[in-house]
Amino acid sequence: MQKLPQAEIEALLRRVAARDQVAFRTLYEQFARRVYAFLVHRFQHESLAEEVVSDTLLHVWKSPESFRGESAFSTWLLGVARFKMMERLRQRKPESEDVDEIDENLLVEETGPEDVAVMRQRSEGVRECLELLPAEQRECIHLAYYEGWTLDEIGEHMSLKKETVGTRLFYARKKIQACLAALLARERGLQEEHP
């Protein structure tokens, strides 16, 4: 993932403030997919995500000065996108968020080599297992494993305590591992039935 240095982003924002559409297009190219990926992983709503990406970047076009440099630009931008998406969803229907209900059987002690092999080989399975996670766990996974944010940064973004984020990530990992193990067991069962 290529990342633009903060100084370069700030220079682009100054040009956007001077109504430079080329600079805006550059920012769009750099961040639209990242914002979209975050929204799709978190909210699983592709068409709405596309609109919210547009709204979010247009917010930058209209008021670039609203980014005050108190955090990384991408952190701020994903925060704006999250807020705008929630506004949109609130207008539609209340979102039912599930909490960290845990099946005790999922709590595998340690990650072993077999878990690593399954994770590497089963792209489709990983996608399915990620989609089965509760929305807030998916969000934590995306921000930690794709954006590389720390627990503090994720906590600030989601208005959660650092420890809560840690717990969510822990359970999300275990659920993915258990989900992949179940997929593998199912495949093996099918192979035994139809050798």
């Binding site: 769009y28 997919r33 990242r34 596309e50 547009s54 494993y145 794709y146 720390t150 822990f170």
Partner: protein, 222 residues
């Protein structure tokens, strides 16, 4: 579970490790080789996310955005054209011109319209002054009543989660010494003034309370 290892393992997977963090991680793995599986699992998960995201559209929502930009540009060009055309429009004679023309035609001499306007303003000022003196009216109340009632910063813009109870909200506000001075707006955003203490610390505490969706600092208006 080692929280530092867990965090650095995720950061390594996402490619955001600093040199010092990389050093710590390598040393930790030398001491605990069994942890390598977790590091590899994290890296594999991150790679799967990368693959999935690389297959997503490169410029999602661009057509919509471009239309909005074009509409804005067209609107600003229309505005410029209208402003450019305006001075060319022939101005119809105003009331002062017409009175001046009438005086010129009926009295037989012309009075300059601007001179008449100045004279009218002077007469009006005189009448208003006389009335004010006569009734000794106190205008201070009227002036006070027309002051801007918008709460001034520094404030916090706060949106609470939908399922928050009033008692939780009050407890959170009491915890930061805050009071609601505005809102809720159409999207449920409140303006909160913090009586004493550090606004940033108060924002941080509200965010950490887990009952807010948005906490932003609104700087003081100049």
């Amino acid at each position: 579970m080692n929280p530092q290892f867990d965090e650095l393992s995720r950061k390594a997977a996402a490619g955001t490790l600093t040199a010092a963090e990389r050093e710590w991680l390598d040393a930790h793995l030398r001491e605990h080789p069994d942890k390598r599986a977790q590091l590899e699992w994290d890296a594999a998960l991150s790679a799967k996310l990368e693959q999935k995201i690389a297959a997503m559209p490169a410029l999602p929502g661009w057509e919509r955005t471009e239309r909005a930009l074009q509409a804005e540009q067209a609107a600003s060009e229309t505005g410029r054209t209208a402003r450019a055309v305006k001075p060319a429009v022939v101005r119809s004679p105003g009331i002062l011109d017409r009175v001046s023309d009438w005086l010129a035609s009926s009295l037989g001499f012309a009075i300059n319209a601007q001179a008449m306007a100045v004279a009218l303003v002077l007469v009006q000022a005189g009448v208003i002054g006389a009335l004010a003196w006569q009734y000794e009216r106190d205008y201070s109340e009227i002036r006070a009543g027309t002051q801007d009632q918008t709460p001034r910063g520094p404030l916090l813009r706060v949106s609470f989660r939908e399922d928050v109870r009033e008692s939780e909200l009050r407890r959170a506000l009491a915890g930061i010494g805050g009071e609601i001075v505005g809102g809720p707006g159409q999207i449920g955003v409140y303006l909160v003034r913090v009586k004493d203490g550090d606004l940033r610390a108060a924002a941080q505490r509200l965010r950490a309370s887990g009952i807010t969706e948005l906490v932003e600092i609104v700087e003081a208006k100049r």
